[in-house]
């Protein structure tokens, strides 16, 4: 944390590991409960947990543990949904990403971010753009867009159908 440009990141945990995403992408954190949880979609892709109501719009929820090949949630295990505004395929998309819990907002300088070490990880590091050492722990800085903008979107492109995005309106309505 020197003089350089600092950027704020939201940190969250997935199965013990600490991840960080830019706060500029985070719209809201939704706590889930027994009554208010994700509506499962039958026959959805593995990483898509279901849908949730975000300010009157239906948004998809991505299971980040699945994305990172981490062990899935147990029956009663609770999680929170980070509502993210992402630019996917040149379009603003609002999606929910599941995390075990959100931890903190930290400031990271661009120069602090180190390349991902090649060995000793219990997770899929494809979507991690770098690591930062903080409070005696490694924080994985996520490239969320890359994490989400993969197979699901590719499948959609093949459909060649323009679907009106509800998400744009939600961000306006705010």
């Amino acid at each position: 944390m020197k003089d350089k440009q600092l950027k704020s990141y939201l940190t969250f945990r997935l199965k013990g590991e600490l991840f960080a995403i830019g706060v500029d992408k985070v719209l809201e954190i939704i706590e889930t409960s027994e009554d208010h949880s994700v509506t499962n979609l039958p026959k959805a892709p593995d990483a898509v947990e279901g849908v949730v109501n975000f300010r009157g719009n239906v948004i998809p929820v991505i299971n980040m543990r699945q994305k990172f090949d981490l062990a899935n949630y147990e029956e009663q295990e609770r999680f929170v949904i980070m509502v993210l505004n992402l630019t996917l395929s040149d379009e603003d998309q609002i999606i929910g990403a599941m995390s075990d819990k959100v931890v903190d907002v930290i400031e990271i300088a661009e120069t602090e971010i180190q390349p991902v070490p090649e060995v000793g990880k219990g997770y899929n590091s494809d979507y991690v753009s770098g690591v930062v050492y903080r409070h005696e722990e490694f924080v994985m800085v996520l490239d969320v867009e890359a994490a989400i903008d993969t197979d699901e979107i590719i499948q959609l492109k093949q459909e060649e159908e323009v679907v009106e995005t509800e998400e744009d309106k939600a961000s306006e309505a705010e």
Binding site: D35, H36, T39, N40, L41, P42, K43, A44, P45, V48, V51, V52, N53, G56, N57, V58, I59, P60, Q93, I95, E152, I153, Q155, L156, E159, E161, V163, E164, T165, E166, E167, K169, A173
Partner: protein, 679 residues
Amino acid sequence: MIDKFKAKFVEESNDNVHDLEEALLLLEKDTSNSEIIERIFRAMHTLKGGGAMFGFNQLSEFTHHLETVFDLIRNNKLSVTEDIISLTFESIDHIKHMLEVGDVEDEEELANQATFIQRVQRMSNSESTASMPAPAKVKVPEIKDDGSKTFLIKIKPNEEILKNGTNPFYLLDDLHAMGDAKVIAFHESVPALSNFNPVNSYCHWQVLLNTSESINDIKDVFIFVEDECEISIDEISSGNLLASDSIISAMDEAAKLQKLLTKEELVSKSSANKGGAEKKDAKKKVQLKEHKISSIRVNSTKIDELVNLVSELVTIQAQLNLFAENDGNPAVLALAENIQKLSRQLRDNAFSISLIPLQSELMRFQRLVRDLSKELDKDIEFVIEGGDIELDKNIIEHLTDPLLHIIRNAVDHGIEMPDERIKSGKSPKGTILFKAYYSGASVMVELMDDGKGIDPEFIRNKAISKGLIDANTELSRKEIFELVFLSGFSTKEEVTDVSGRGVGMDVVKKKIGEIRGEVSLDSEIGKGTTLTLELPMTLSIIDGLLVKVNKNQYVIPIANIEKIFALDTVSFGKTFNHVVNIDEEQYPFIDLRETFDTELGNKGTEQLILVKYEDRKVGLLVDQVIGEYQTVVKPLGRFLKKQENISGASIMGDGTIALVIDTNRLIHNNAIKKYRTKN
């Protein structure tokens, strides 16, 4: 800024072109209707003028030549022929093209354009001279005063006229081009330099014009500035007053004094000059009337937004109702009720705005049928019934491709050649009837041709040869016609330019299915083929039945539901191969808990919902029926587009989400799976 105007011009011009097409189709049926000719002329004139104004110079030039042809027609110097109409249709296509690409510099394109213009010119030249000698139609020029007239024209533009990009001098130039003209400029209202705003126009003019054109032609000059100028056109006398010295000097005088010329003054001068010859009351003052605006153009995205907001309101309103009921406060309940009433009205209104009549979309099909049948040497009439039926614009948009395909099929394969038709004792002219009508909450669209029809046996054999069905399969007549919609089925072997573009009826069915519609086919050999589309009126709100499957809530559209049965699990214990016996009847059923991969937790009563699937009834097994629910269907978004069984989601009063089941696809997918596993 300019681009914005250009886009607006293109948009408006497309409307004009549309209107032009429509009028031309009418003209084809009634070639002497002067009203239609006038309409065509006006549309062309608008295109020409606008084109020049917004930098579509080539468009403007081209339309000018076309306009010339119709000018001759409207002045009875040329009669409407088949050739003219065909060429005009081609020209309209060309205009559309030009609107799309703007001015081009590509040489090939320019050469094309030049030859096109030549063709159009030939039309006006050759034909006009050919029909010129017809003495009845041509006005015999009067020797006395060469048929020309003199008009006094006053043009007083608004100060703001320059802001619209109008140059008043061009108007004067246009007048000059019509004949002899003398212009007096009045500049007395130009303010002192300190108050002078360079973007305002302060001048006004009087023009004495001698022309052989009619007063209408003069009006046409001002067609674009009607609203921005004070214009009066007075006929002073016949003959050329500009030849008279006394008039000229009177004008010079007026210019010097900055005094407006009056009609009376000129008339008296001219009659003095002519010895009081003919001083009829030729008073034809053009009063520009105020017109009431009965409709406005609104960008369709704004309407989508409105409908979306209203949908949200309906959702929130449901939450409010829920809260009010729980709260029990009578004041809150009364408020909630009032808001419910209002939001319902608002919803109905918003939806009615997004409805547009089918007619608007059908024009192009009329054109299509016309062009295709010409191309194939067939004689086909496209008849529309119920064109005023209104549908959600999103549905109409989705309808275009399927209709295009169906109509092409009818023209290409359905209707026979004229000689063939005569042989089979039919009128040589084939008919394709487009019929739309309301049926309950749906809109039915029938496309009926009186062509050769389809032999069910042929379809059957074809399906067998394609391996779609087994040779021994017994199928009802209806089932056979259903085969046409299977993918991999296409009855015509060779690919023709007209209908064979690699898409079959399966695509039609898929497209119609996307808007929750259904399509069926019926045909009789020798009599013709009918395709029936059943469409919902609107996409975003449905009446549904809320059901519970395990933990999740689902909505089943009520329109599809036949009956609901409460059954205990025991009676299913004996079921075999997913068929259940109810009231002496056997129904196949689908256990939704199984299909949706949720664990079979609940063991108690279950409910079976019988839904319509084509002409059968299929049961859907759910844990519990909660009740009827009017719901706003929200799209799942592009992420979840692959969801086949679910057509959308609905937000419940308490903020949770219920998924809307597309029963047709659900059953269809399951039936296919069963079929495959059996083999």
